[in-house]
Symmetry: C2
Subunit: 233 residues, 2 copies
């Protein structure tokens, strides 16, 4: 829980457009974390051993714990958390429906690559928000301890069966493509978020060139993650 | 985490039969909590609203948090937690396979009635264990805040559609029957647990009459829970 009573950037009161954009972003992240939690729990059902099930359960619980602060910040901004989250339900649910893992390894890669991409994207956007909201967002994106677990298990799987590398590399590309499709669709529908990114009278924004650079950074980090797993991006 | 270095009852070293029985019981409870966590997460997917999903997620996380201390105690008793839990996988998995909820309400009743029954049973058995193990078990059975949520939602569902009461009453009976079937099967297979309950040279046990009284208490508490939900037992 943050103690700060001032919800705005600096000491200025929040203008309504800005407030709506912050609520949108927090709602998107919160619903994303809730659906990531559900997905991790479903992955646990595919875990080959009880140790793996426990490890996935611990990650899922860490993911769920992040939700609390996002919800508090939404309430501070005068929003109904469930309503703010509900706006992004369709986009995330579509993403998950189109990328249902067919086995344990696809689930692991999705958790690592999907969460990593989402976290990079939110961190980029958080730079355009007030300090309090930014801090809540950054905290909600903390590592849930999954990197080491996923890297170790995926690499071990590939060592046992080399064909897995080709299948998982294709899977990583599909995840990236589907994430971009849904992100673009959501951005096009959410005016407040788009105008936040475009900037305002007293706020810097992203011009097309800056958007392009952001996209380059996101794809570079995606490629780094794939290579950590021993996969071609 | 308990600080106590002495794993046994009082200061006496543990005899091997006793240790095996304690490991069995802790393994059963731990696997039961892990599978309860998985089942709650699957219920969340059926939740009609985002608020309901969040409420179920919070219960599931509380359930998962209990696992930590059970696991620590298993390690203190010289057991491999995953191995101890694995002995009970089939029994619990069969129970869940035979009682897969067909909707949100059946899931709620199962979480409440099933967890309640299991908790009552473990509390009864914990009375025959050393103080340290007993304390870990009692703590692991703490309320996860689900009672009020389940009672409110099931009662509201029945108020909207009276036919639901008949269907859920039958469902409660089926849960009880299936739980007894699996519990008896597991008890018959686990010699250490059975001999713990039968008592030893320097430990009191349960004779047939005491077992009968325990069974009566368990069914009475089950009937109380059903009536809290507004259902016939």
């Amino acid at each position: 829980m943050t103690e700060s009573p001032a919800p705005g950037p600096g000491d200025a009161p929040l203008d309504e457009d800005y407030r709506l954009a912050a609520v949108d972003l927090l709602g998107a992240i919160a619903y994303g974390e809730l659906s990531a939690w559900e997905r991790l729990a479903a992955d646990a059902a595919m875990a080959p051993t009880i140790e793996d099930k426990m490890a996935i359960g611990a990650m899922a619980s860490a993911e769920f714990a992040h939700l609390e602060r996002l919800r508090d910040r939404l309430v501070q901004l005068g929003a109904d958390p469930a309503e703010a989250m509900g706006e992004f339900m369709e986009g995330f649910d579509q993403f998950h429906a189109h990328t249902a893992p067919s086995d344990w390894y696809e689930g692991l890669v999705k958790a690592f690559v999907g969460d990593g991409l989402a976290a990079d994207f939110y961190r980029e956007i958080a730079a355009y928000l007030d300090a309090d909201t930014r801090e809540v967002i950054i905290a909600s994106l903390e590592e849930t301890g999954q990197t080491a677990f996923v890297v170790e298990h995926v690499r071990a799987g590939i060592a046992r069966d080399h064909r897995l590398a080709g299948r998982l590399a294709l899977w990583g590309r599909r995840l990236m493509g589907e994430a971009l499709t849904q992100a673009q669709r959501v951005a096009a529908e959410r005016d407040a978020l788009s105008s936040l990114l475009a900037g305002g009278v007293d706020r810097p924004g992203l011009d097309l060139a800056a958007l392009g650079r952001m996209f380059t950074r996101l794809t570079e980090r995606h490629a780094q993650r794939m290579s950590e797993l021993g996969l071609d991006a």
